[in-house]
Symmetry: C2
Subunit: 588 residues, 2 copies
């Protein structure tokens, strides 16, 4: 889903990060970061400032050292489009933002541009990602999403759309076949022709080619270890959880602006902090750009209307709890600075500290390609290239199948909930009504020996009414949590194609470099370096896959148990109602 923008005015300045104004193919006008623009200069490669043209790993412009082949043209001259044409990354391209202070993260993060000053946006759900309907829910498997929107029930039980932000921030989920390693036919280990491929944007390519550089502090080190099932993330030595409670409506500017504030209490500090959805949203964007092969859980869906309605607030809170659970469960995410800042900084009392942390996170150098530098992995001997490939391919099949079945289960649960709220309730209450009608008729017979029966039948009618209500209330207890879980996992499943793509990209580079060595076109040392770095990415990917399976088994076990327990409680309640009614006939 690439939108082509027509650049109307393109003013080349010293600072390539200043924004440009553009118009997309549908005539929508907006700003976009200049770094996305591929300028065809009058004289080839002349006077190009470093880092000016290409989205590269997050080394800040100041310290950026262009690699020798950094300024290869992305398009051959004969293929070059007219100067005013360029390709934006994806649907979520941020052209609707306000005052823009682009940061290096934007190069790969795909666009969170909030300034310190725009926290107070009236639109709590607002983000700089365009909320284009066509861009929503276009997950990894377009065919599934198609069936989802067709099959999804209208009304209360609606299938969650996957967070569009994630798709945008990962540069869209262009299917892998759009990224064949064009390098295969090339004689050198070349750059990928598609500069918007996830492999490139995530920093994977830059890292594998040895272009990433940065100073990794000890505190930033992340370890992949070998567990019984293969590579896994080293466990968080300080595990914690975090409650989310008391959603409270707050106002600002003398009531002109309203938002909901949630109270977060992490178990490791026990100090409550208050956060808005937009804080979560900001945090999500930081994480998604920082960690190329980690599946950052999607936030609960945005909603345009009814943001202050109780149902919505309750639903969002439950979604945030699930999200927080997954964040805290992830050894890497749970320990990262920006998340800890989010969990611990008392923004309401210490505005300065909050802004400091916020700015620090937005200037974090260890994002994208540099993230891989922070990884400490087991010896490379532990990895067999073919085995890795087969594992990854197996997981790809798995995610596809799981996405299918999750979608199916979501749809079924949705329908089942709707039926219980409407049809089942109605049927049981009609039975109740008919019993009451019979008892009313029987009451016309005033004889004493009839009175007990009449009361018992009336009671039975009321019991069936109550059972109807129980049916209608039940989905909140059992099906809604199942659907919340599925929504969260559908988010993860939408993340994995990109993660897999990064690993596949790295693997392709290894194969290419080996061929080059065989052909004598590359030094063995260089190829070994590429393989080492690819191994790092594979370790991380396999650790992430393992983590996914671990939390999946944990979550689905506990959720199925919860579901069945709630169902059992429900049917016991129904049975109890009936037993009460039956008891009434004893004295008749």
């Amino acid at each position: 889903m690439l939108f082509f923008f027509l650049v109307l005015s393109l003013i080349f300045t010293e600072n390539p990060l200043l924004d440009r104004e553009g118009v997309n193919s549908r005539g929508d006008r907006g700003l976009f970061p200049a770094s996305y623009v591929q300028v065809i200069p009058p004289a080839r490669y002349a006077n190009v400032p470093p880092g000016g043209f290409e989205p590269l790993p997050a080394a800040p412009p100041a310290s950026f050292k262009p690699p020798p082949d950094a300024f290869q043209p992305l398009l051959q001259p004969q293929q070059a489009p007219p100067p005013s044409t360029f390709q934006p990354p994806a649907a979520g391209f941020p052209y609707g933002g306000g005052a823009l202070q682009p940061s290096p993260q934007q190069l790969y993060g795909g666009g969170y541009q909030a300034s310190d000053d725009d926290w107070d946006d009236e639109w709590d759900d607002s983000s700089t990602v365009a909320d284009e309907p066509g861009a929503l829910g276009s997950g990894a498997y377009p065919d599934l999403d198609g069936s989802s929107s067709a099959g999804g029930a209208a009304g209360r039980y609606r299938l969650s759309t996957r967070s569009d932000l994630s798709l945008a921030s990962r540069g869209g989920s262009a299917p892998p076949q759009h990224h064949p390693s064009g390098a295969k036919s090339s004689a050198t280990v070349s750059r990928n022709l598609n500069r918007f491929s996830t492999f490139v944007k995530s920093g994977g390519e830059a890292f594998v080619l040895g272009e990433a550089s940065g100073f990794v502090k000890d505190g930033d080190k992340l370890c992949v270890v070998l567990g019984p099932y293969g590579p896994e993330w080293q466990e968080n030595p300080y595990p914690f959880q975090c409650t989310i409670d008391d959603p409270t409506k707050q106002t600002k500017f003398k009531g002109m602006k309203s938002y909901i504030s949630y109270k977060l209490v992490p178990t490791h500090t026990q100090v409550p902090v208050h956060r808005r959805y937009k804080h979560f949203d900001w945090l999500y964007a930081r994480l998604a750009e920082k960690f190329p092969v980690i599946s950052v859980p999607h936030l609960p869906e945005k909603q345009a209307t009814g943001r202050f309605e109780e149902d919505f607030i309750s639903k969002r809170r439950k979604g945030l709890i699930w999200w927080m659970n997954h964040m805290a469960s992830h050894p890497v995410l749970a320990q990262c600075d920006v998340f800890q800042h989010f969990l611990t900084c008392p923004s309401s009392t210490d505005e300065k500290a909050w802004k400091q942390g916020k700015r620090k996170a937005e200037k974090d150098e260890m994002v994208g390609a540099n993230f891989f530098l922070t990884l400490s992995t087991p010896p490379a001997a532990a990895l067999d290239l073919q085995e890795v490939e087969s594992k990854i391919d197996g997981f790809k099949c798995f995610t596809k199948k799981m996405d299918d079945s999750a979608l199916q289960l979501n749809h079924t649960a949705n329908e089942f909930a709707r039926k219980q709220v409407t049809g089942f309730k109605k049927e049981y209450q009609k039975v109740g009504q008919s019993f009451r009608g019979l008892s009313q008729a029987f009451e016309l017979d005033q004889q004493a020996f009839s009175a007990g029966l009449n009361q018992a039948i009336a009671f039975t009618g009321d019991a069936y009414d109550a059972i109807g209500e129980l049916f209608a209330e039940q989905p909140r207890q059992d099906l809604d949590p199942v659907m919340d879980l599925l929504a969260l996992y559908q988010g993860h499943l939408a993340n994995f194609p990109d993660i897999i793509h990064v690993q596949k990209g790295a693997l392709t580079k290894v194969k290419e470099s080996r061929r080059h060595v065989e052909e004598g076109k590359m030094e063995l040392q260089k190829a070994d370096g590429i393989q080492d770095r690819c191994n790092t990415i594979s370790f991380a990917t396999l650790a992430e896959i393992h983590h996914f399976h671990q939390i999946r088994v944990r979550d689905f076990k506990s959720q199925m148990q919860h579901f069945l327990q709630q169902q059992i409680i429900f049917f016991q309640k129904v049975t109890q109602k009936l037993e009460e009614a039956l008891h009434k006939y004893d004295s008749v």
Copy 2:
């Protein structure tokens, strides 16, 4: 619902019971008993043989003594239709019979004409009552029946139509307003102008006017006693029950004819007898004509197709069991000769004894008007005319309301059963299928720590499948019996308007006779006689109403208990399935 027949050929003979051929308003041709024909003789009232023109109480022709005003013309000469025109009684008029041997019962019973020889009719459901669709289900409350046919679900759960035979045998259920006592405006205690009114046909009028006569044997005596709630039938000193089992397909004439035979075992003899539906049908007709103010339970509905299908046979057997239960519960019906003959005579081994009893029953003199002669009642002082009237009116309201609510409950139960068999089953099985789909997806992950969960989810899927089946099977256990009960009571409710009509007719005669005494037109003694006989009818009617309430409370209590018990068992089964599934997660 009177059908006007055009008599094509009307041959007057000495025996007025010989049948005539006629054609109804729709052109259907058939035979009908000559006694229904009102002949307009060339010379008024000349040469009319006794009992020839009018349907009168069941005194057999031989002993019949025409009262002084027995031969009043039914229509004034100036209103007289052409000789070939007459009015048949009602919808169920028997014109489809085979070889006819009319008996006195036919005069009021409205038409069972089976001979000894036609037991073997291929059509097991056959009766001499015309199965005219328009004549079916036109119960006491046409408006209700209208809604019934509109609301009744098609398919398996269909509202039982009330037995047409009963309507026919009671001469149709022309609503009471069709029978205003035309006598009110007359100066004498006259005959009702409408000779087809239930009051007349039941023999009520003849009895009240003192025209019934017969020799009552001691064994035929029936007692109404005063109980705590008013008049009631004296209890059967030899209570019994009767099982109906082993419905077996039998063949006759080298397999040319097939029928189902049921084994009946009455508790007081313990000797099994075998009966076909048509035997029940014959018995029903005998009872319906014999007892004018007793609500003879209707037989389960006739069915044209699928008579040998298991479902139908099982359903009919259940209906017959209900019917037998109500027969055996009724102090008068349970003890009557024809029923005992039916229960005890081993027709298959002693054909002669069976035919003898059959013929005897068909020649029973104590039917209709004479039935009232067999009643022995408490002193007349126990009855206050106004109180009786108010009680009867109250009961009339009651039956109306009960019929409404029974119809409503039947419709609801029908729909509820249908929903469980279709929708509920489908919903639960779709949930089961989706769980199984999820477990199949999870099985793609071959890791050991995942296997337990996969199996548990697959088991949960199967559990929901099984729950779907439970829902589909449940209506047989709980809703079907409720609907069977309602069908039986709807039959009773359809009987009562006629019973009430007989009592009302008698009451009107009393009022009339009192006025005549006041006006000096009648001797006090004669009026007292009328009042005494009216009291007898009132006692019997009130006893019958009391019996109805008694069995109603008994039946609805036990049926509601049964229903709730079955529902409880059902929900416990569901809970158990879920608990089994939950248990599977323990070892995950």
